[in-house]
């Protein structure tokens, strides 16, 4: 594997005819950890959904490329196989399909027919990852996300991340609803992914997550655009002072998307 680059240029995205993103520019390379912060309603989750290809979001302008390949031309599953991953804020529940069965399908979708992962190897790998995430072993045989608590769902998203090993991962509010112990465990899983071959974009309201996963770059989103970028120190200042100083600096009265 080699370093990948996800490039987002002048991205405009609408949902039900309403424009949410109004020209986002961002580049994430293998080895880099980015954080996008910002108050509610500024377009953060829309960005992650648009990158993955959520059926409700329409890209009206701009481009997304992964190592030069046009992501917007790809179906959702093709984007995933190309190396993108989205840890979702609200993962779907799928009854009758076990977690293990689903994960194995995901792994095998990246392998040729006849070259499927051996069951033993798969189970060993899953067991190890589940141990690291302090998940009950019986969660492998439970139906996908069905009846999972909020924390279990988040751990399960990271279990998928660790199993699939994407090139670029987007983590959409992976910290929401987690208590401090769960947050530590989830962060441990994410940090384990750190390598030159793995780039990550974390979307969060709170600086808290960034105490455990240090970002290389921090971006602030307001009104559907990235309005300010900096290093880890930017997150610390936001934690200490909130968002008002940025609004004042940029002359923004209402940070939400209008």
């Amino acid at each position: 594997m080699s370093q990948s680059t996800l490039t987002i240029k002048d991205l405009h995205v609408s949902i039900d005819g309403k424009e949410i993103l109004k020209g986002v520019n961002l580049e994430i390379k293998g080895g880099e950890f980015h954080a996008i912060m910002g108050p509610n309603g500024t377009g953060k989750s829309t960005l992650s959904s648009a990158i993955m290809g959520h059926p409700k979001y329409e890209v009206t302008q701009g481009s997304i490329t992964l190592d030069g390949e046009d992501v917007l031309e790809m179906e959702v599953d093709e984007r995933a196989r190309a190396g993108l991953f989205l840890a979702m804020q609200y993962p779907s529940e799928i009854t009758g399909v076990t977690n293990a069965e689903f994960l194995r399908s995901a792994v095998n979708s990246r392998r040729e027919e006849g070259d499927e992962i051996s069951l033993m190897k798969f189970i060993r790998q899953m067991d190890n990852n589940m141990d690291l995430l302090e998940m009950d072993q019986d969660m492998a045989q439970r139906y996908l996300n069905e009846g999972f608590s909020g924390g279990e769902k988040k751990r399960n998203e990271i279990l998928q991340l660790m199993t699939i090993e994407p090139k670029i991962a987007i983590l959409d509010e992976i910290d929401s609803g987690l208590d401090i112990d769960a947050l530590k465990v989830v962060s441990k899983g994410i940090n384990k992914m750190r390598s030159e071959d793995f780039g990550c974009l974390m979307i969060t309201h709170y600086q808290r997550l960034l105490n455990y996963i240090t970002p290389d770059f921090v971006h602030v989103m307001m009104q559907g655009k990235i309005v300010k970028s900096g290093g880890a120190e930017l997150a610390e200042r936001l934690e200490a002072e909130g968002y008002d100083w940025i609004k004042q600096e940029l002359g923004i009265e209402d940070e939400t998307v209008q």
Binding site: D77, A80, I94, V97, A106
Partner: protein, 436 residues
């Protein structure tokens, strides 16, 4: 009423009956039913119009097929459902209308079990067979299709289990349809005497395409005092075969009938599955899975009627409709006056995979007694695009994602089927039907 076009006449029935050396009672039953068939109305399955369906025109009333001589000659699909050949196997194979293979273990023979094809049952077990054939459970004059069935019956099996005989290994019947001209008028009688216990599994397999085919199938299950019958069926009849299938049972006190039905036909199908809980303390459980595809239209009526006190009836049906398939799921729990302390429960769920697929679930409870419990649940819905998005976002193709969702939707029924063999078969059949 328009005149029905018949593919057979009375002379043909007489000729067929004579050729099989049938006893007089059976010929008379045929002729009597045939004379009524013209005037009797079609059944009226709720919410499906079947008056234009073809139940009467087919290539030939009976075809002579070369019997299969061994398992290795059987088509692959049949071998797959039978599994490894073994000396303890009890299996009947019918090729179109011709009895082919009949294996019955010495153990069963010694226990007095009768397991034989329809013609042999009528000929060699005439007296006992006559007691069961369209007498107690299904009557010839109920409607046009039962009358036609009685008049034209040309295959099937008779299984009789004497008192106190318990058989753990499933007894299997495989009906192979590999002649486009053949019409299947199969009759199955499963009679379990007091305190007996059996599992019967049947498969309908089409390996041929036909322009115009008819299957008119009637099953009668008679569960004696405290008897337990587990009845499994996996139907995979071809497109353009119009199927009427009526599987009905009656229970004596404390008897139990479990139905495990997988209806995977590719043609228009009317399926009726009724259990009449006559005896006090008797029990019925119906589990059914269905996959529809293409332009087929299907109607499934599942009904449990409680006559006895302390009777329990459970219905669980899940169906998936693809393409332009249509299906109606009627579930009826009926508690007659006097059937106190009874319980009627049902659940029907339909998942539609495409814009043009149609499904409807009608739960009906008819209760004439105060001291009872009953419940129903029904849902009809389309596949959730967000579920597909979630699965696909992990690299899973759309086709595989749909397969997982369907598999998951049917799992609560399939995983709980009481017959292991049927569970295994159905998993394979569903996979094939969903993939294409």
């Amino acid at each position: 009423m328009t005149e029905t076009k018949w593919s057979v006449d009375e002379a043909a029935i007489r000729e067929f009956s004579a050729a099989n050396n049938e006893p007089a009672w059976l010929l008379n039953a045929r002729l009597d039913a045939f004379s009524k068939a013209e005037d009797l109305p079609l059944p009226k399955p709720d919410k499906t119009k079947i008056d234009k369906w073809n139940f009467t025109e087919f290539g030939a009333h009976h075809v002579q097929s070369a019997p299969f001589k061994s398992f290795s000659e059987l088509p692959e699909a049949a071998q797959a459902v039978i599994g490894e050949e073994s000396s303890t196997q009890n299996v009947y194979v019918q090729r179109n209308n011709t009895p082919s293979i009949l294996n019955i273990s010495d153990e069963l023979k010694e226990a007095g079990v009768i397991f034989t094809d329809f013609a042999t049952a009528a000929k060699e077990h005439s007296e006992v067979f006559q007691k069961f054939f369209m007498q107690q459970v299904v009557k010839a004059d109920e409607h046009k299709l039962t009358a036609l069935h009685a008049a034209l019956v040309n295959g099937g099996v008779f299984l009789y289990v004497p008192k106190n005989v318990e058989i753990t290994e499933p007894i299997q019947a495989v009906f192979i349809h590999d002649d486009a001209q053949a019409a299947l008028f199969n009759h199955v009688v499963v009679a379990a005497d007091a305190n007996s216990k059996i599992t019967y599994v049947e498969n309908y397999i089409s390996t041929v395409k036909t322009e115009q085919g008819v299957a008119n199938i009637v099953t009668e299950v008679i569960a004696g005092d405290n008897a337990q019958v587990s009845y499994g069926a996996v139907d995979t009849l071809a497109e353009n075969v119009t199927t009427y299938v009526n599987r009905r049972g009656i229970t004596s006190p404390n008897a139990r009938i479990d139905w495990s039905l997988g209806i995977m036909n590719d043609g228009n199908t009317v399926s009726e599955n009724v259990t009449n809980l006559i005896g006090d303390g008797s029990f019925a459980d119906t589990k059914m899975v269905v996959v529809g595809r293409g332009k087929q239209s299907m109607n499934f009526t599942t009904k449990v009627v409680h006559f006895g006190k302390h009777t329990e009836g459970y219905i669980l049906k899940h169906g998936v409709m693809k393409d332009e398939a249509k299906s109606i799921f009627n579930g009826i729990g009926k508690i007659e006056h006097g059937a106190s302390k009874s319980n009627a429960e049902q659940e029907s769920r339909v998942l539609m995979l495409s814009e043009k697929a149609r499904g409807d679930a009608n739960p009906i409870l008819l209760i004439d007694e105060d001291d009872v419990t009953a419940g129903h649940a029904a849902s009809v819905g389309r596949v959730d695009p967000l579920q597909l998005y979630y699965l696909m976002s992990r690299g899973i193709t759309k086709q595989e994602a749909e397969r997982l969702v369907i598999h998951g939707f049917l799992a609560p029924v399939v995983n709980n089927l009481p017959i292991e063999n049927v569970k295994k078969q159905l998993t394979g059949v569903i996979e094939r039907k969903v993939r294409q």
